[in-house]
């Protein structure tokens, strides 16, 4: 049954929820922000998460993985969304791991995946080159040079870009700047000569970086899969990332909405709880209805990754667009319904508001995915 959690997934969700409430509540993100933590996440927390197997949920057993698939990682991400836990989980265990799984050679998989599974190797996908998600609009060049290549270009909004051990850089081997053909992905260790990393501090207090590559020497063994062929699998990696991000956003929305409803019951004005006012009741009820839709969409999308790959693209766009809109709406309503306290930094609602805006931009905003869904449907 795809749309109802099985026993294994329920247990995973419960364990994850308890662990994160204790080890990585929203207050932990606040502490990282206030102390300007150089790493941007708690390395000890990540070690514990890896010990619980979270770095390897989607990896096959022969790579040291749990092999629970996306339905498994989905419930964990939902819980990390609930507490806004900062960690390499998304960039490494979902996006990086998927890139190596789908695009890597057997040697690369054997070399890197066990390290990922153990939480010893963190990754970051260096994809974007502008302020909007344009996955095939790649000007970064990968040019032949002797036995290997030279990599040159500039990347922005690289999630975990300043903290990851290695970067997966999307670059162009051939073709027009907007073409899906001719793309390559190369694995670049962070301390390689010619790599300049500039950490960016963004509204959500999570990790991102701008990265410049100037004539970086790349050995042919660093090319993930075959040179110029990444276009065949990159979209599938991004779709997995979109669906995973939608799961994280669902957790955040559930949490921010639960806090809002609790506040409506608690806050008294005019001698009654404000939740008794119909103007607020109807807005809350309509959010509840939207949340029901979002739950179904995310559960189905996670299942599709594991079981119906032919539906992957359309479900990824449906899930990301649905959660983008709901996250925007739910966080705005949360601030408004909390009133004055809603715009203070003391209340944690602001953290959810800010994270939602960043998450909405990751791998495609609403307009991007509406357009893609329509195109996939032939209109």
């Amino acid at each position: 049954m795809a749309l109802v959690l099985n026993e294994e997934q329920r247990l995973l969700a419960e364990t994850a929820g308890e662990f994160l409430q204790k080890q990585a509540p929203v207050g932990a993100l606040r502490a990282l922000r206030d102390s300007r933590d150089p790493l941007g996440y708690d390395a000890e927390l990540w070690r514990q998460m890896a010990e619980l197997g979270w770095a390897s949920v989607i990896l096959p057993e022969d790579a040291g993985g749990l092999d629970f698939g996306f339905s498994g990682i989905g419930v964990v991400l939902q819980e990390t969304g609930r507490t806004l836990a900062a960690s390499p989980l998304f960039a490494t265990a979902v996006v990086g791991a998927s890139a190596l799984l789908l695009g890597g050679t057997e040697t690369q998989k054997a070399d890197y995946l066990p390290q990922v599974a153990a939480g010893e190797l963190t990754l970051a996908l260096a994809l974007e080159e502008s302020q909007h998600h344009r996955p095939h609009h790649i000007a970064t060049r990968l040019e032949k040079s002797g036995d290997g290549f030279l990599l040159s270009g500039e990347k922005v909004f690289v999630l975990d870009g300043h903290s990851a051990d290695a970067l997966l850089v999307v670059a162009r081997s051939a073709g027009e700047t907007t073409s899906r053909d001719g793309l390559s992905v190369v694995l670049v260790p962070r301390d390689t000569a010619g790599v300049e990393i500039e950490r960016t501090v963004m509204a959500d207090s999570r990790n991102a970086a701008n990265i410049r590559f100037t004539g970086v020497s790349i050995a042919s063994t660093q090319v993930v899969g075959t040179e110029g062929e990444a276009g065949h699998w990159l979209d599938d990696v991004l779709d997995r990332g979109r669906i995973a991000m939608a799961a994280e956003m669902l957790g955040s929305v559930e949490e921010v909405f639960a806090r809002t409803v609790a506040w409506l019951k608690e806050r008294v004005q005019f001698g009654v709880p404000i939740g008794s006012f119909q103007a607020l009741q109807h807005r809350a009820a309509s959010l509840q209805a939207e949340l029901e839709l979002a739950r179904s969409v995310v559960l189905q999308a996670l299942t599709v990754v594991d079981e119906q790959p032919q539906q992957l693209a359309i479900m990824a766009s449906l899930a990301k667009a649905t959660l983008n809109e709901l996250a925007r709406h739910a966080t705005n309503e949360a601030v408004q319904m909390h009133g004055g306290i809603g715009v203070t930094d003391e209340l944690e609602i602001g953290f959810f508001l800010k994270r939602a805006r960043t998450a909405m931009q990751i791998f495609g905003d609403t307009g991007f995915h509406k357009d893609r869904y329509a195109t996939l449907c032939g209109y």
Partner: protein
């Protein structure tokens, strides 16, 4: 799982062998069989199809066999629906008795009432209509004023009901009536079954903005009703009514695809009525509206599936309560979208100059406005979600449905 696979295989074979070819074509309103004393079949095939389904208990697949139902489990019932849909088999019997009254009788009726009415419903002997709303009692249903006075061996009923669908063609009506005028609103209401042939019952059709007049106002003038027609306890009709409303809302949430009028699916309408450039709809606004609608319907479809899977897994979820609101609002959106896509060709009222489908589009648009009013307005649905799912405190004085 294996048993279900076998059931699917047997059902598929039986349907293939027993559903006449003509009964696999789309149904027009004139061809629907609604049963009742005045009911008639549009064709011999329709009669044969109905009788075969009836004899198998499959006009009411999930009712107990003791009352003429099919005795299927919910999973089997779902498979039957899917297999019927697969070959476009027509619904053999349209009936408010099947969809609404029956489930309430199964829960609240006396054994004698179940014996008297359930098999008759399965067999399509009587056509039923619903008497809930009154001219002065719409969303505030509990303020209803139609009175049933205890006269010893019978009730004497006086008052009037509105939005009684097809009352002029129905044999029986299930009604909410006030049996204790002094009790607090919900507490003095009873659930009563009334034979429309009783002296003192009369009906007047109501014309709608769509030009249709499916609905009537029904009047009761000193109508004598046997006491054995009371369903559930005296003054406890509100619980029966609430149970029945759940069935009505579920029905309305699912009804979209079953409209008798020919409807152009929005994507198809876009291909016929809009310009395309390089495979894309040229009008960005309409393209955006269309994809938003399509994505929403995709999400609603998945949510129906989730709701079903939750029920099958024995999980008491909260999804169902939102579906009437989401489903009917989406239908209204669809009809507005179709009008926008078709431009002036979506506004024809009568022939000539428009195709029958175009004319249906206009009428369906007008009809769709009732979807978010009938069976509990969207605003009442939101009250229900706020109070029962979110457990927000009751509004101090505002009207709420409890």
């Amino acid at each position: 799982m294996e048993d279900l696979d076998q059931f699917r295989e047997e059902t598929r074979q039986w349907l293939e062998a027993n559903c006449p070819a003509s009964q696999r074509l789309p149904n027009t309103p004139e061809e629907q069989y609604w049963g009742g004393r005045g009911g008639s079949f549009a064709s011999e095939d329709a009669r044969v199809w109905f009788e075969r389904m009836r004899d198998r208990g499959w006009t009411a697949p999930e009712w107990p066999t003791a009352y003429g139902g099919g005795g299927l489990t919910p999973q089997q019932g779902q498979i039957l629906k899917q297999e019927m849909k697969r070959i476009n088999a027509r619904t053999p019997l349209y009936s408010l008795g099947l969809w609404m009254l029956g489930p309430a009788l199964l829960e609240y009726g006396s054994e004698a009432q179940k014996q008297e009415h359930l098999r008759a419903i399965v067999n399509g002997e009587f056509r039923w209509c619903q008497g809930y709303s009154e001219p002065g009692a719409g969303s505030d249903l509990a303020s209803l004023q139609t009175r049933a006075e205890d006269q010893g061996d019978h009730f004497l009923v006086n008052g009037s009901k509105i939005w009684t669908t097809a009352a002029d063609r129905s044999d029986w009506i299930f009604c909410l009536v006030r049996t204790d005028p002094h009790a607090k609103k919900q507490e003095g209401i009873s659930f009563l079954l009334i034979d429309m042939a009783s002296p003192g019952v009369s009906t007047t059709p109501i014309e709608l903005i769509s030009g249709d007049s499916e609905f009537c106002q029904t009047f009761f003038d000193n109508v004598r009703v046997p006491k054995s027609n009371l369903v559930g306890e005296l003054n406890q009709g509100w619980s029966v009514a609430k149970a029945l409303l759940v069935h009505e809302r579920k029905l309305m949430a699912e009804i979209g695809g079953d409209s008798p009028r020919k409807e152009i699916p929005p994507v198809e309408a876009a291909r016929r009525y809009l310009d395309f450039t390089n495979g894309r709809i040229a009008d960005d606004q309409l393209r955006s509206d269309l994809v938003e609608y399509e994505m929403r319907m995709h999400a609603i479809g998945l949510t129906h599936m989730r709701s079903f899977e939750e029920r099958a897994a024995g999980i008491k979820g909260t999804v169902g309560l939102a579906m009437k609101y989401l489903g009917t609002e989406a239908i209204k959106d669809k009809n507005e979208l179709l009008l926008a896509i078709m431009g002036t060709r979506g506004l024809g009222w009568e022939a000539p100059g428009f195709t029958p489908e175009e004319l249906d589009t206009t009428r369906l648009w007008a009809m769709s406005k009732a979807m978010t009013i009938a069976g509990g307005t969207s605003e009442v649905q939101l009250n229900v979600i706020a109070n029962h799912v979110l457990q927000l405190p009751q509004a101090p004085k505002a009207a709420t449905e409890s």
